[in-house]
Symmetry: C2
Subunit: 225 residues, 2 copies
Amino acid sequence: MTIFYSEHSKVYVAVDCIIFGFDEGKLKVLIGKRQMDPGRGEWSLYGGFVGAQESVDDAANRVLYELTGLRNLYMRQVGAFGSVDRDPGERVVSIAYYALINVKDYHDKLRKEHGVEWVNFNELPDMYSDHRTMISKARQLMSDTIKTEPISFRLLPKLFTLTQLQRLYEAVNGELVDKRNFRKRIKEMDFIEKTELIDKTGSKRGAYLYRFNKRVFKKDSIFKL
Amino acid sequence: MTIFYSEHSKVYVAVDCIIFGFDEGKLKVLIGKRQMDPGRGEWSLYGGFVGAQESVDDAANRVLYELTGLRNLYMRQVGAFGSVDRDPGERVVSIAYYALINVKDYHDKLRKEHGVEWVNFNELPDMYSDHRTMISKARQLMSDTIKTEPISFRLLPKLFTLTQLQRLYEAVNGELVDKRNFRKRIKEMDFIEKTELIDKTGSKRGAYLYRFNKRVFKKDSIFKL
DNA sequence: TCAAAAGTGTTAGATTTACACCCATGA
DNA sequence: TCATGGGTGTAAATCTAACACTTTTGA
């Protein structure tokens, strides 16, 4: 290969994943104790280095799959973090991505193998390097996006009750929502389909299960929650 | 320095700047013909490599200052671009930033020295590598932001007429705005101050000049245009 | 029988949109 | 004198927010 830029310096490029989940009415983040030096033992996001022959997006997908065993997750770039001293070892520029998963899809066995756990967003510990900043920025981006794009369903099972969906919005927006107004808006979205199935785990009476139909959802569909 | 990550590969990290301006009622972008190999002669954004001892943000600020001679510009990260083959020469991950400048503040002499020109956003040529994608993404981010944060003033002179401001919003949002409704909303924003000065360049009668007062603007001020 | 969650409409208030004419000036 | 851009208010329509009771069922 011809050397075009040899007077410039090269750095390591890494990806870090902010993985959001929703369980027991709370927004959660998947974090673990760092298993390598420097910073061993500190709370940290799960990440990895970008290989010479993979794109940054591919690296994020690889790391995400390695950690969760799940494919086709919703994932979005949060941004690049590039302070000189952000990594105490060497110069590393890191690209953060956030992903949404349904907590129930993630096998506990795999989770434990990677030494990560679900921590309530509101109870995060101090974290390694700038990981706390990454999480805040990811959270900001996610909550802006979830209001206008139908990504909330990625945090729920395929079939969900309207109360579950409402609780999710309440957790993300940080404020209670009027049940009747909420359901009125849902009823106007033809891509949120009522099934004949009933979930009896959340109440004695049981609640209808709904599903998001992505085929019915068009780019110009109105989505505001 | 201890070598912690030696089994991984290093890459070049660059920054690319999408510089928006507003002139003659049109949104403009500052681009030039690439003056280095590979890709010499292709239309390109202005950029530079991140040095070993500067943060990625610092590199963007340095490059921006080098190009424009202006400090304290509004600048925001668009994201990282990291396809393996995005640079035909070597592996380069690039972080894009967009900036807003008042076209009149940019001296033509400096502009010509750097071989860049203002091109209408709607008439952009084919561009080097993924620069076209960077611009689209920057534009998306900018137009989302300009609706809810008072950054539009960065594209205008310190003193501006309401018609200028309205034309700017029309150009960015791509649709005409009702003059009376627009001015009604402006009147409710106490941080947009009417001066006693009159601009006679745009009309025979002359129009009052306004200014944005950032001291009056609070984080919780309502801004929707 | 009662506690707990599911489900359902209406109204007042706030916000948004549509719309048309007179004014001041320089050429 | 006339062409050009500057400046102003009102009313209808739409959207948003507030609000309370009945149903079902398992314990």
